[in-house]
Symmetry: D2
């Protein structure tokens, strides 16, 4: 994520500003405002703006005239209650805006979360930089054999080298083709003056899905937590999880009470099916239950035993 | 809109705060932050929080590393361009939160705008105050005869008096019934100790639609402008238009460039149908066009003539 | 829910139609199509249209060229898998449309579910019928003492009579005032020709929240199940739960496999917090755990014990 | 768009079905149901299912007990009225589902329309076919010089040949790399048994944006018309416009009255700004107006003159 000096200067200028405001502010989040937090080899997330804090959740739940907050223990109790009982609307009263740089294949997963506002850098209008994602060696995984949608062991030796060379060479070549078709030099003049260069909106189709794009992405806290509960989950693809993990850290700075409630009641919580609850009851009553007598499928049984620490 | 001393104090306390922030701030909006702006006889809007300013629209459109703004004339030109060409996503990058007190029948129209976040005061959980809307004499209109969904002349004399008395008496009686069924005194103890009082969630059904409710309502600038284009329109019912007009004033403070573009390209713009454009072309070519030869219905013809100042 | 003869005739005519279609059809749902299923004292739900069936979920999950379904056991397995793992998008591929008649206070809760399409009968434009909700004696509950948002014991004897009389009398009076202000006879002519009648959009504010309104409401299966998981829940107010229960029956007819998966993995499932899971593990390991040592609040402990059948 | 024999058979089987239904049916749309309508070189759209017809718009607007339709002329008048006055909710009562095969760069534009349901073919789970988009010669355009986001003249001769060769060679090579990294033969066994093949979720990043993906896409008529008003517009990129045009044809079959209203009041309508209307009024009053005295920018003036046929 090498920012250009000009970009660094713009960020520094934004960080240098200090205006007085009557709005709720969160010093721990202000501290990192605008800073580029690195993700993957060339990506980042930057918090650009935010609205509200833990108090704003309480304030909305109470439809208050003032801040609405009372003692910290009462606010925590209320936020835990709201999270447990799926009273989601007060969490929608906080909003956050990120600037994200991410590979296109990650952007394609991310955009599936519809309840957000997005402005993406336009490759119809502008030219993409030559930056593409190459997995670090420890993330270069084989296809899982047990699960069609997952990763197996990490590739090593020749196999790893071959894959990395291929990814790099093909991306280099894709970008070379893109540049040749655009036919523009640094000043925007044709490199080869005998023809005008292909339309940008067409040339971009030559780039591969590991090229980086960027966008502004804004959402409310409730929908952000939905996003994170799916994308910070071990079943999510590693590359988007890396972004979700970095965002979770910003949530901890922003709304520590909501963050703790999210960990307790959602991210590290487990949903047991009607049949699974019946199994747990029987086990607690001292009955020896096995998969055959449980009413659960082999897979559900395995997952339940893992949850119960009897894996 | 008589606020209680306690409410006034809470608002004053919130207004007294001043925190430093690195975020974009808008002094003209800060000036009125948290203040209750009166609407109708007991209602208000209060701006509770906001995210972004005119610069944030530009910043998102450019996917900038810094503020993204250039000279004011360039920013104005870009914002006008975005508004004209329906590039709506940059306007979604600004967010605003209101606290609104409004009659239930207005709330029922308002809530139809789905792209917003809402927390309403719960009459399942709490007791509503005795505050109901009675139209001012100049808004007490007869049913329109030309238009089934509209107002005609203002009622006067006996008719007006009779209607106002009826509205007031029935609302008083509805509240008396509500109170009697709740059977609670000021301290929450039963007034008549021989029975426990009806569940709040049931008792509320006795209230009429002119009683006031309140909510926190938060939306982005694009969806706010959609709301205002429908609700600040002369076809909207007067009572919701009163709220929309008050909100338009807050938009003028908040994002003056976007507000001007909205007025020019949406609120005071007109959409001409394919046939209407053909009519205008023929008229400009010197042809005498009348309704019969226009291809327009009588109503469309009348509306077009009004737009063209030939009403 | 006394339908007029004209309404009954319209429904019968719609039910009499039989067109051939290449689309997926569900005979069990066709059987009740258009029929008014009674809810509360004057309300109903009617299934007006639907798109898709259990097979459409499978088809979309597989992005198939044909129907996509295989053996029933495979389809059931896939649908269970999707429901368990929150792969929600295939469930969005089924759509259903209801005509609902419901008290306004129920409509106000219902409309909070934003991901749906709605057309409500307009009291700006038309005149509402004299139909209001009066709870059946067994639903006339006192305010709960333990829970500010709930019902306690059923009212009986004098208290019940007084409440029912109040509700009925006030609703009668509200409608009388509404009619008087409208000043229209059955033919729409002024009853009292000395004045024109109040605008409908104003007169309606005299009606109380137990009057019935009606709307067309359309949503996809995923969002319908979200609605039902909240509104068919014991914590929901009885009156909206009555609608949710009637809708659940239509879901069972429409998509029996999805309905069963919903019961197993959502409606009758339980989410255990991180701390609650740790408690269950300790109990299964033979440890004696009490609330003090559990890390749970008194309320959470009570709820966990209830789930585990140790209440 | 060469369908495999198996796919053709699945489509034929679906088309052969004929079930009786009480629902609204549209024979003109049934006629092409499931058929693959070719778009671009390998893409298609297929109508998979639909709910409602022109009558359903009328029915919802009237909140009818029966079909709600009257004489065709009355229905047409009502639908025109709803379209002109932006009463959008009745149009949301019709729903349509497409199966679409499209290049990834088109999918990236398309997905920005958030109010739709989508299931995309998963390249985490499955292997993409070797099918990529190569523009037809007449669509191989140079970058526009006047407009950074548009196309200029069509490329010809050597330039065209060079670009087409580049696009084809790079896509071939990208797919070869993808295949080599997957290391699977037709039966899913490793081609090179000395290593297990890269995880599919990683290998896919080597593909370029002109490769085809496919999805099920479902939306309501109102949101579909929004999509089409932006994507069937001359400012849209040709490749997505090709899809929009094919979809417009299906709308004409499905809801001919709504389609006609859409053409008249939206697709071929023009919005004039407040200032532009003032200009037209002055011109109609016989005044000679030029850009300088118009209050319009040079660009707005040019566009207005084009609309008025004075280009």
């Amino acid at each position: 994520m090498p920012l250009t000096p000009e970009q660094q200067q713009e960020i520094a200028a934004a960080r240098a500003a200090a205006h007085p405001t009557r709005r709720a502010t969160v010093p721990a989040l202000e501290e990192i405002l605008y800073e580029a937090i690195p993700v993957l080899d060339h990506g980042f997330i930057r918090v650009i703006d935010y609205m509200g804090d833990d108090g704003a959740i309480v304030q909305a739940a109470r439809v208050s005239y003032g801040r609405g907050t009372r003692r910290v223990s009462e606010d925590r109790g209320l936020i835990n209650y709201l999270m447990r009982h799926r009273h989601t609307t007060p969490f929608e009263m906080c909003e956050i805006k990120y600037h994200v740089k991410l590979p296109i294949f990650v952007a394609r997963q991310w955009i599936r979360h519809r309840t957000a506002n997005v402005n993406e850098y336009s490759a119809r209008y502008s030219i993409l930089d030559k930056e593409f994602y190459i997995p670090a060696p420890q993330h270069l995984a084989a296809q899982a054999t047990s699960n069609r949608q997952g990763r197996g062991d990490v590739l090593e030796g020749d196999a790893a080298r071959r894959v990395l060379d291929l990814l790099r060479d093909d991306a280099e070549r894709a970008y070379a083709g893109y540049s040749e078709m655009l036919n523009e030099d640094e000043q925007g003049a044709p490199r080869d003056p005998s023809w005008p260069g292909l339309a940008r909106e067409l040339a971009r189709m030559n780039l591969s899905l590991n090229f980086y794009t960027q966008w502004y992405w804004k959402t409310d806290l409730h929908n952000l937590l939905n996003f994170l509960s799916l994308r910070a989950d071990p079943h999510a693809q590693y590359e988007i999880r890396a972004y979700a993990d970095a965002m979770l850290d910003t949530v901890a700075r922003w709304v520590p009470l909501a963050h703790a409630a999210f960990n307790e009641y959602r991210l590290h919580a487990t949903t047991l099916s009607a049949t699974a609850i019946a199994v747990v009851r029987r086990m607690l009553a001292g009955e020896a239950v096995d998969q055959a007598s449980s009413g659960l499928s082999a897979r559900e049984w395995r997952e339940l035993m893992a949850v119960l620490g009897r894996g």
